[in-house]
Symmetry: C2
Subunit: 193 residues, 2 copies
């Protein structure tokens, strides 16, 4: 095991810490994709936890549903075929201030249609919701893939948004892998109080 | 304890991991400053370990010597009043490929003379030595302070250098604190084989 982690390992490391502090966690997978993170989250939250998930692609919702079903974990998740900016229409208000972790993978669905990508406006809206609904000591991870045309613009938008979060309430790090061109970078937002 | 770490905590976290894997570690404090990292390193390497340290300011060498003496750890360290680019003139050749950790704090000596700062040419030379002498699984940490005029240029030089390290041999991360203007960022170089 290396001491420095890949972007994926690093994101899961932080989320795991946020989840383990709770007896039952409420978490959000803001971009289902192939459902790997959703499965990870469903396993981590335990029997009493709850995972909410969003994706604008029906294929992603289907793949994720199938993956969770295979593992017998479908009862812990609520998946929505909708953009993550519609967060407030789908996640019950009672969970405001109670969300322990939120994971974003920005870019396109790996092995999917590369013309369907996430867009800055909706991403920033969803990040805003995530920050507002996050529990104290909760974690938001945002993996940023640059392998598509709008990738760099998205990175700029997300890092600018994160830079403006109040330092008294949030601790925000941005980690890049310097010697791997095209590797995803990771923004981690921790609510410190 | 927060899940996301400050630059200083983060640097020490990685160095600690690299040191703990060894029964006796050989480490380098490339910039003594006030000697806090030197003391940390001397404590961590244990009785059989060795710390080499450099600083171009006599004040830094004196302060560090005093700090280590107070703690009774002076026998574990060899401090040089010389620039870290003179590495090869001071560290015995037998330690080539044996260095487990190297710490850099780039910028000026806190509470010292702010006109005496580290410079890109000598910094890059020392980073080159560090990469060449590092043991497999060894760690180099470089904290980058931007609170002086040449700070941004130094960040650019260091990150460019680190970006060019071969990906098969080194894993290189760069972590910035996004919402704290002027906070130091951290480059971590891990030799993976």
């Amino acid at each position: 095991m290396m001491k420095t982690l890949s972007t994926l390992q690093s994101a899961r490391y932080y989320v795991k810490q946020a989840i383990q502090e709770q007896s039952h966690s409420i978490v959000v997978d803001a971009t289902l994709g192939n459902g790997y993170d959703t499965l990870f989250l469903a396993q981590e939250v335990g029997m009493q936890g709850k995972v909410f998930g969003f994706d604008i692609q029906l294929l992603a919702v289907k793949k994720t549903t199938q993956r969770l079903k295979q593992e017998g974990l479908l009862d812990r998740v609520a998946l929505f075929h909708a953009g993550h900016e519609c967060w407030e229409s789908f996640i019950p208000r009672e969970y405001k201030n109670q969300i322990n972790a939120v994971m974003f993978n920005l870019g396109y669905l790996p092995h999917g249609d590369k013309t369907i990508i996430t867009h800055p406006e909706t991403t920033l809206q969803a990040m805003g919701h995530a920050c507002q609904w996050l529990a104290p000591r909760g974690i938001i991870t945002i993996a940023l893939y640059v392998g598509h045309e709008e990738g760099q613009a998205e990175v700029d938008h997300v890092t600018r948004f994160a830079s403006q979060l109040p330092a008294k309430q949030f601790h925000v790090t941005w980690t890049q892998l310097l010697n791997r061109a095209g590797a995803p970078s990771l923004v981690v937002i921790e609510r410190i109080k």
